[in-house]
Subunit: 370 residues, 4 copies
Amino acid sequence: MLDARWQRPPFDVVRAAHAELQVTDLEAARHFYVDLLGLVVTEATTDALYLRGYEERVHHSLVLRQMRNQTRVEDPRTPAGAATGAVPAAAAAAAPEAAPEAVPAAVHLAYRVAREEDLDRLAAFFQERGCPLQWLDPGDEPGQGRAVRVQDPLGFPVEFFCAMEPAERLLQRFDRYRGAHVLRLDHFNLHVADVQAAYDHYKALGFRCSEYTATDPPGPEEKLWAAWMYRKPNVHDVALMNGDGPRLHHLGFWVSDTQSVLRACDIVAAAGRADAIERGPGRHGLSNAFFVYLRDPDGHRIELYTCDYYTGDPDFEPIRWSVNDPRRGTFWGHAAPASWFEESSRVLDLDGRLVPVEPAKLSERPQTVT
Amino acid sequence: MLDARWQRPPFDVVRAAHAELQVTDLEAARHFYVDLLGLVVTEATTDALYLRGYEERVHHSLVLRQMRNQTRVEDPRTPAGAATGAVPAAAAAAAPEAAPEAVPAAVHLAYRVAREEDLDRLAAFFQERGCPLQWLDPGDEPGQGRAVRVQDPLGFPVEFFCAMEPAERLLQRFDRYRGAHVLRLDHFNLHVADVQAAYDHYKALGFRCSEYTATDPPGPEEKLWAAWMYRKPNVHDVALMNGDGPRLHHLGFWVSDTQSVLRACDIVAAAGRADAIERGPGRHGLSNAFFVYLRDPDGHRIELYTCDYYTGDPDFEPIRWSVNDPRRGTFWGHAAPASWFEESSRVLDLDGRLVPVEPAKLSERPQTVT
Amino acid sequence: MLDARWQRPPFDVVRAAHAELQVTDLEAARHFYVDLLGLVVTEATTDALYLRGYEERVHHSLVLRQMRNQTRVEDPRTPAGAATGAVPAAAAAAAPEAAPEAVPAAVHLAYRVAREEDLDRLAAFFQERGCPLQWLDPGDEPGQGRAVRVQDPLGFPVEFFCAMEPAERLLQRFDRYRGAHVLRLDHFNLHVADVQAAYDHYKALGFRCSEYTATDPPGPEEKLWAAWMYRKPNVHDVALMNGDGPRLHHLGFWVSDTQSVLRACDIVAAAGRADAIERGPGRHGLSNAFFVYLRDPDGHRIELYTCDYYTGDPDFEPIRWSVNDPRRGTFWGHAAPASWFEESSRVLDLDGRLVPVEPAKLSERPQTVT
Amino acid sequence: MLDARWQRPPFDVVRAAHAELQVTDLEAARHFYVDLLGLVVTEATTDALYLRGYEERVHHSLVLRQMRNQTRVEDPRTPAGAATGAVPAAAAAAAPEAAPEAVPAAVHLAYRVAREEDLDRLAAFFQERGCPLQWLDPGDEPGQGRAVRVQDPLGFPVEFFCAMEPAERLLQRFDRYRGAHVLRLDHFNLHVADVQAAYDHYKALGFRCSEYTATDPPGPEEKLWAAWMYRKPNVHDVALMNGDGPRLHHLGFWVSDTQSVLRACDIVAAAGRADAIERGPGRHGLSNAFFVYLRDPDGHRIELYTCDYYTGDPDFEPIRWSVNDPRRGTFWGHAAPASWFEESSRVLDLDGRLVPVEPAKLSERPQTVT
């Protein structure tokens, strides 16, 4: 379970910073993220879009990359039958034998660090653990300085970087605000097969825990079901949830108020995409956030998130929730749909192949799952 | 179906004005309506509360009346088994044989008229149709002038009145605002067995239609499934929905903004009454209203309602929705729970007995009903 | 002072419906109303724009007309020096000798009526009062049916019409919402030299009074300083304020919530037009509205307005405010700038000439005017 | 001017944590802070109130202390004439010769640190600088652990502490929310005579700078007019503004949204205290915050503050504003009242005497000061 000591490793991870998603149709993805949600395009290449929120002073917090369909059939690992079309992220989870390139997936998740030398120390940390590792030179990822990518012990493709090219901050360009008025990336939420191991890993990286879910009954036998971990002092930079993993459950973007969440629903529905609204809007018990979950055209899940709280005090005590408390998920008592518990985006390894998914270690399901 | 001519009867119904609900536990009801929703108490008697919203300049828009439990067992019509306790409004609908006094119910629904003489004209109107009728002297209903009550052709106990004692308007006493910041009663929503007949009746009373739901396919064979009818120029004073009737589906109260709806959910959930949140919050396709439906401790349904639109132009054309269009109910695509379609409050006749319920004339169910 | 009897003339004015403004630079005006405030263009001609709000089902609620500069110098009444450029509306008020066409001005204010025959009855009403009058055939004003224009006894160019061509209602096209999310025209506010006479005139037209301002001390000697008059049942369709007149003080547009008002300020300021924000945002004591006043590029004043209340009950009593009560103007106590009290748009007569301005009958100034 | 190096002293100040204000009438102060603004009482003694916001898990973020009137005349330093009554904070600033105890004042401002040993290191830091210093045992300040108080080089009474007794977090007790829904203390704003010296001091304490104001023209001769400094990663924990000092300009409390700010204005005005609204509501250019400034019954200034942004990235560059840019103060262009620039609360030294005020080093006034 939880480890009350706050660990202080020799590197300083600042916050969750950006993610790269592989999509099957870049134009459809642009429509969703730019036209409907209002993310701003910093740079567009033939096969990728680099996006940011209105508050962000950096080159990108979200990269959308067009899946390279033409290379699929040439891949000897690809069964012929799988080449006929892209598989939605959710379906892919149930079909791990599909060709790596044939599914939408998360390419990498990136954390920012405080100092350049933190990158070397993090590289050492992961090498000690036997993790595959790649160095990126400045510009290998457009707009970004030197970076290191690892396949972390949980199986996720994680990047650390310190420097990023500045971009114009549009926080006060209200005349350019569109859509959900997304301000910045806030967090990653991950499906992991072993939450306790994932918690221990992030603890070792210097993350603290704000809230967690545990099995009933409370006591020495209880198991960690999910944990919300942070470096910047709000509820989380990364959430770890019990489920078949490694998979990316969602990216959380910060908006300034509940109105932005409601407006996003209105806009998405008005544009004929009400089906994109998977869960909410509502109030989370855990985190107190006001939220809505949307699914992009490839099934990648996005949370619009606001109204959590400050966690930076030295004596902050993690808040425990029972996995069977329905208010944990939705303070107002609404059940989340089964898809929300079951579907997640596959992740790629450093060579661009799908990382195999292992079944969740805790097999019982919360009573609140319908 | 619809009758395009706007009828101008010799009386002027101004708006939906108030309702009286019979409750099984007046203290529990007070907690819900006053402490949680923030309605203001104008007058309290031993067995009734007279409430109003912050904007209302009149004595009451909602009367809560304690059910007289002590008289139940003495009632020869009461089967012994039914006397042990009150039956929730919803269950009562399925048990029409229960004792009249043993269930929560709607005692009467009241419309305000423009002139005293309208009351006499309305009395004549209903007498021509053979409806049971009662005259009330000023003060028979506290705070109210002369009034006439009828059991209308649809089976509802309907009251008309012109004069009501003023009460202090608290619109700008923001220091006294509590709960959902309810401003005023907006409308009644009724389950009626024959929507076409109910539409024709309200049309004869001078109501216009803003929006309606019809069966598929559109054309000469289509049937009216529901109709939103108004006298004051917003979407409705009364909605008529296909269902076992006569039953009161809900009372709609106006709040000033979406924040009031969200705050109500937060408050109700914080007070341990998340179960009271039945549907929403969300955006209705039909009416464009932002809404939440709550169930009071007796199961009476309350809607908090805002953001509809102006309907007073002479050429306003009713808007048609297909009963199978999911955006009709919830613009964002959420399904409403089955309880919302099936459960309603029974109504009393002028002698205080439960009005028998007839089955809905249209038996097919919309595809959107889960 | 007030006349407590509610007059019922033989015609039915429904509401304030649209206005036509003469502007000096149509492109600048388009930028302000369309790009910044988000009004929707129904029709654009070489010298006019026909605009509506998102809720409006009609062709236009605002017409912007390019001032015909080329005709100015040919006008014998124009002093040579005045021909070099347009004069801001405010300055024009102080320079009544300027050429008629050389200033921004209100061309006409239009009310909608319930029935075609109301137009004939209104024509008779104004002819009895010796007012200049013009009939318009359908289409003379694009999108509009038969109409009658009069120069009313107060000197304003007022139009009455019944039919208008429908336009697509965009209420639920949230994906197209921009700017202040203006929903519909709500009211006109007029500077009149004799408020009592203006009140009596609108009373004769069937308008009721919701709130009014009177001089101190209260009693038989008090004078009417301002009156808010309505046909549709909210606070007003027209406000009459003591001042040099006839002049148009502002057009009030309805927005759905306080957020829309704040967003408009943010947008206008972000676009480098913070100078357009003349007063507010704030809460009016009188009307309870949440408001902001903006000045368009020609100085025409626009109010974004929300949160007033229902006034349709038969016993509604007008609310009195003392002209010296600072909460009347701004509930929060802020003083309005002098420009707000003094500056207004000139109005044209039926021949397109500036109507001369007469000084306000009440010369004392409220203590709240800085 | 600014020092681009981010200093890392051997102690870790976490954030601005609480303040203690001396008030002349504790009941009046309770009405303002508890009844109107909605702060929660953790503990009340005969002469003090310990308050917190809904989010705060600690004993207090604001202490209100009743001024001890009875001791005033016994003080040999008190001129007899000054003993007759309390002097408003603002007036006191202009009357430094008044008796120390006769004025409302700030008793201390407290920062929280990450570890107990930081207190010792901070004590050493201040002793090296020759600052008067006091140690407090646990409980000397109710609810608080060991603490050190210093009179810092700028003349302010500053406290550092690590441990504080927990109090129930009410973040999700929405049924108990009242008033402005204040969530937590956010920052202090100080009038200092020498902004450059104050900036250098806070820099040495490990604070970073988010935004600053400098004199025109930009260049080597420019002077620092004001600086916003932070430890927690939002815009500030402390702001340093040019002015007669040391004086406390205001305490900033965090609210969750713009609605809370507007609601506070409505409540304060409804309670007859519109005079408490000194400036705003509005949008700051500097910080992007949506704000309102209120004056408590003693003239202490409170800001309700929301919508600033994240500043924790390693390459965050301070944003420069010209002291003559009107959008710096109010993005929407409104002028701030002179009182806002001139009036501030006096501060006490560690013995409870008023600290003398020195004139601002920069004497020119911004053009935006009216």
